[in-house]
Symmetry: C2
DNA sequence: CGCAGGTGTTACCGCCGGTAACACTGGGGC
DNA sequence: GCCCCAGTGTTACCGGCGGTAACACCTGCG
């Protein structure tokens, strides 16, 4: 049986760590050979562990998205009124992408590393589902209500896009951005524009 | 002088048309050789016209983004109160991506065709700037006001993300989606959630 | 000892983006 | 008539990539 081998998972972890290092250094155009070299081994070993390039990138992306999703779930399900929870969740998201911008760029924009996109899409989907359930619960709608789904999709994109802009321009503090986005969700634009 | 050659621009257009056809057939993994074959010529000619692959993809993307941006500007600057104009602009965007979903996917998700991303980013930026100016004007803020900028970034992402979801799931009519998104912008969620 | 299985390697394939170098053609000057 | 030249097209190649087949090495076990 192959699954009980001693260092198999540990090995896999070390390979992922090496891949992570290379990806963060070379942008996402890192080649499999380079990653293998960084790990001190050769290509076929990588392929035995991850199948192909998108397998590796997916594994790489999954670690980060899982962590992020956990943090967001915690922020969203902790106590308080709706506005407080939403505000806290947006703040959590922004804090994470601020703390590790390279990781964020790798996941979301990557410029070249499209193989991970499947995993990232999956993450966004899970996040959207989470939000849909939250909104539906909040508004006492059926769990698959259309409005909840649409709004969840919109809100995810809104925060992501604003986070993108913020990481690039850094034109305000994280707290300010969090406030503005929460305001926007609570209709500040509509009120101001009439 | 080379610029007065007879069919130069026409030729370029025909090459773009061929590229467009191949991209829409092969997804965005279309190779330069395949595109050249579709156009009835060989690779070096493509390279003489577009420099490199990202040049071709950029030219391809530009046609579509320019058209789309024009349509959005028209929708946004036509008359009416703020809410009507926003509603109409969102509807215009959704109508365009509904009419040409393959084009939209090529531009925005592409799975493989990252070379066009520069152009697409440029488009999103121009769109965001446009919106920023609109919001600032509407709210009588300075043109580079922070709130206007943040909101514009968020709104762009919100509509794009919701449009994405809609194209994939088609779970409601375009008119419904437009209404829900406008409602969201005008604070329907905040009101309902308290 | 032989041998099985897992780890590692080298050496290769096919494809792609990109380019150098060469062939063809048509129109001006002499 | 002739040559030159600019522009159009081609073939044939390069380097690098993702991916794989085939072989070498160790280690435990009957």
């Amino acid at each position: 049986m192959t699954s009980v081998l001693p260092g198999r998972d540990a090995r896999r972890e070390s390979l992922l760590a090496a891949a992570d290092a290379v990806v963060q250094r070379d942008g996402a155009s890192a080649s499999m050979a380079t990653i293998a070299a960084e790990a001190g081994i050769t290509k076929p070993i990588l392929y035995r562990h991850f199948g192909d390039k998108s397998g590796l990138y997916a594994a790489l992306a999954e670690r980060h998205t899982d962590r992020l999703l956990d943090a967001l779930v915690d922020a969203l399900t902790a106590g308080g009124p709706a506005r407080v929870r939403v505000h806290r969740t947006i703040g959590t998201y922004l804090a994470v992408i601020e703390a590790e911008p390279q990781v964020y760029r790798f996941l979301m924009q990557s410029e070249e590393a499209v193989p991970a996109q499947g995993t990232v899409r999956g993450f966004l989907h899970r996040l959207q589902d989470l939000l849909t359930a939250g909104i539906a619960h909040e508004l006492r709608l059926p769990a698959d209500d259309l409005r909840a789904t649409v709004w969840a999709a919109g809100i995810v994109g809104m925060v992501q896009s604003a986070g993108d802009w913020w990481l690039e321009s850094r034109r305000c503090s994280r707290a300010d951005l969090t406030d503005q986005l929460t305001d926007l969700l609570w209709g500040a634009y509509g009120v101001a524009a009439g």
